[in-house]
């Protein structure tokens, strides 16, 4: 589904990604781990089309289609979803209205009619129950005054609404207490199918107890330096990243 080949990217003069290769197939969950500043969030942003970064080499394709010339919204319309590490507050626009706009723009781009209001309400009700979100919450301004946990839960709610092909969860576990973590992970697992794929970006093993990855990749200094199965995450949790650094230097 997602294929990244020799991806190099920089911001200004600073090269952040130095040749990333990653293959994600439908039905798979991948975890990308690594220390601060390794380039994890940059990778997520670039897949989603953030124009602040310049791709200097390599390519990203989704189901064989090159994404490089597509605007962020066009990528979204093709099924790319990024759960933000820091969701943005938008005063005056309610969660419901924001979702309605997002869904109908996506439908429009895919040649579909707008979703009828009653169906929209039904879907909103279903998905908010999945994330254990109070109805009142939905009429509040998007992310405004939300706690860290509420913001993250709201991100996954949006993912549930948009049903993306490829979901990238950037540090979704940060700022979550154990109950919220369980709710969010449970939501993600219910959304998981053999048609979609999930890339989880995280520092810690904690989230991976709930969302069990098929593959774990270690991102260090702009490169994926080690890949393995779920047991690699446990090893990292136990031993930190230094041993991989030493392995690299050796």
């Amino acid at each position: 589904m997602l294929s990244i080949k020799n991806l190099h990217a920089s911001i200004g003069d600073k090269e952040i990604l130095k040749g990333i290769n990653l293959e994600v197939k439908a039905g798979e969950i991948h975890a990308i781990m690594g220390p601060n500043g390794a380039g994890k969030s940059t990778l997520a942003s670039i897949i989603a089309g953030n124009e602040n970064y310049e791709v200097t080499e390599g390519e990203i394709t989704l189901d064989g289609e090159d994404l490089s010339e597509l605007a962020p919204e066009e990528r979204a319309h093709k099924g790319v979803f990024l759960s933000f590490q820091y969701p943005v507050e938008i005063p005056g626009v309610s969660v419901t209205n924001f979702m309605r706009t997002a869904i109908n723009e996506t439908r429009k781009a895919n040649g579909l009619e707008e979703m009828p209001a009653n169906q929209m309400l039904k879907v909103i009700r279903e998905k908010s129950e999945l994330l254990e979100i109070d109805r009142k919450f939905l009429s509040r301004s998007l992310n405004e005054g939300f706690s860290g946990g509420e913001k993250k839960r709201n991100e996954i709610f949006q993912m549930a609404m948009l049903e993306p092909k490829l979901a990238i969860l950037d540090e979704t576990d940060s700022g979550l207490d154990i109950d919220a973590l369980r709710i969010v992970a449970n939501g993600v697992n219910k959304l998981k199918s053999d048609k979609n794929a999930i890339v989880v970006i995280t520092h810690y093993q904690r989230l991976l107890d709930y969302i069990v990855p098929d593959f774990v990749h270690v991102l260090l200094n702009g490169k994926i330096v080690k890949s393995g199965d779920a047991s690699l995450a446990l090893e990292l949790e136990e031993k930190g990243y230094d041993w991989i650094k030493q392995e690299q230097e050796a």
Binding site: F84, I90, N97, A102
Partner: protein, 438 residues
């Protein structure tokens, strides 16, 4: 003959049509004298540093329209808040249109300034209020006073709630090549009374218009006045709005400006306090482009203890448009426990757009809370990316962000239909269809 000379000679012609043996005439003559001495303001004056009238004053303005000026309601219906029932005081090229108006004398007076100024039964009220709060030193206000004749006269007696909003509408037909109009409004709201007023100036074609308007508002004890000014005129329309507000204790007066159009718009908003525990609210949204210019010049004079004032101005400027915000808060020594807040947030969408923002606080009391904040920036790129990531195209995302930016002021609109209308105008200005209920 330049416009000033033309006006001075027009005043002599005007005197032949009015009662020159009245106290009112003394007011007029000293006003025209002040205008003669001072003339039109120039950029040399501190308060007009960023706004020039020069180019506008070169037009050969007609001072009194002589042309036929009837208009059909259907042609102008869209400018009214036609979804709801309202009182209407409507003028066409400065002349009252009984055909388009819906005035009343039942319990409240919503009628004509010209009647109030000339009929004996209004004399006591006119003597007590007319030109009492307007700044007699200001040349443009004086010019208006000298020629004051037509406008809206609104008098809500003690303990009355105006049962529906009042629309004051000034149309310019463009039948004259260039027209100067000088509306004069007087609003008196009695103790415990409440009124909502919407004022709009609208040109119906592209001929230049200069409006020099003066509105005096008197809010008695515990009166509530919500005043909305819709400024969404043509690119040849120029508006100088001089609004003076006098407030007594526990009254609440709010003036909202929605400046979306016009060649030049200058809002001089002046609030004076004559009682304790009162609140003044000044809100504005400016969204302009091309070479449009909008200038807000506000003054809140805190003279009494325990009063509050809130100013919140949002501006979005594109193309070569220019904005000015000059907000003056004056806290006198007696005005202890004053709360005065002022905010001016601006977004520049083009490299060629400019904003001059100048907060001025003069505080002579020592136990007060005053704050001011001015920001000038661009749209938040991170927020744009966030919305695009959810599938909302950049143009719509920008519009949504600008809407969100103006939202605090939109939320303050107390008439739901007006709120909808303003939102619609904003959507049109931003070039999008807002795909949700606002």
């Amino acid at each position: 003959m330049d416009l000033k000379e033309k006006l001075l000679s027009s005043f002599m012609a005007f005197e032949e049509r009015i009662d020159v043996h009245s106290e009112l005439h003394d007011v007029r003559t000293s006003a025209i004298k002040n205008f003669e001495d001072k003339g039109f303001p120039t950029k040399k004056e501190e308060s007009w540093k960023y706004t020039s009238l020069n180019a506008i004053l070169k037009n050969d303005f007609t001072v009194f329209s002589k042309k036929e000026n009837a208009i059909e309601f259907n042609h102008v219906k869209k400018y009214f808040l036609h979804e709801i029932d309202t009182y209407k005081v409507v003028f066409i090229d400065g002349v009252f249109s009984s055909h388009l108006s819906a005035t009343t004398h039942e319990g409240i007076d919503v009628c004509l300034m010209s009647s109030a100024l000339t009929k004996p039964k209004y004399k006591m009220v006119i003597d007590a209020y007319f030109n009492q709060i307007a700044n007699k030193d200001d040349s443009l206000t004086s010019l208006n006073t000298a020629f004051a004749m037509e406008g809206a006269y609104i008098h809500i007696p003690k303990s009355k709630v105006a049962d529906k909003p009042i629309e004051i509408m000034y149309f310019s037909t463009g039948n004259e090549a260039a027209l100067l109009v000088q509306p004069r409004n007087l609003v008196i709201v009695g103790e415990n009374s409440h009124v909502q007023i919407i004022e709009r100036h609208q040109s119906l074609n592209e001929n230049p218009v200069l409006t020099n308007s003066v509105t005096e508002i008197f809010a008695q004890k515990r009166a509530i006045v919500d005043f909305y000014k819709i400024q969404n005129d043509t690119l040849e329309a120029n508006l100088i709005d001089n609004t003076y507000v006098s407030q007594k204790q526990e009254s609440h007066v709010s003036v909202h400006t929605f400046s979306f159009g016009g060649n030049l718009t200058r809002n001089n908003l002046n609030f004076y306090h004559f009682g304790e525990r009162l609140t003044s609210t000044l809100n504005g949204i400016t969204i302009i482009g091309e070479k449009q210019h909008v200038d807000h010049y506000t003054l809140v004079k805190h003279s009494t203890p325990n009063c509050e004032s809130f100013q919140d101005y949002k501006g979005i400027y594109s193309d070569r448009s220019t904005g000015v915000f000059n907000g003056k808060v004056y806290v006198e020594k007696e005005a202890q426990k004053t709360n005065a807040f002022q905010k001016s947030n601006n977004i520049l969408l083009s490299d060629k757009a400019t904003i001059n923002a100048k907060p001025q606080l003069e505080i002579f009391a020592d136990d007060v809370k005053c704050s001011h904040g001015c920001t000038v920036g661009q749209l938040d790129e991170t927020a744009l990316f966030y919305m695009q990531q959810r599938g909302i195209p950049k143009k719509e995302a920008k519009a949504l962000l600008m809407y969100a930016f103006s939202n605090a002021v939109i939320e303050n609109i107390k008439i739901p239909e007006l709120k909808q209308r303003i939102t619609k105008i904003i959507a049109t200005k931003l070039g999008v269809k807002m795909g949700f209920d606002l």
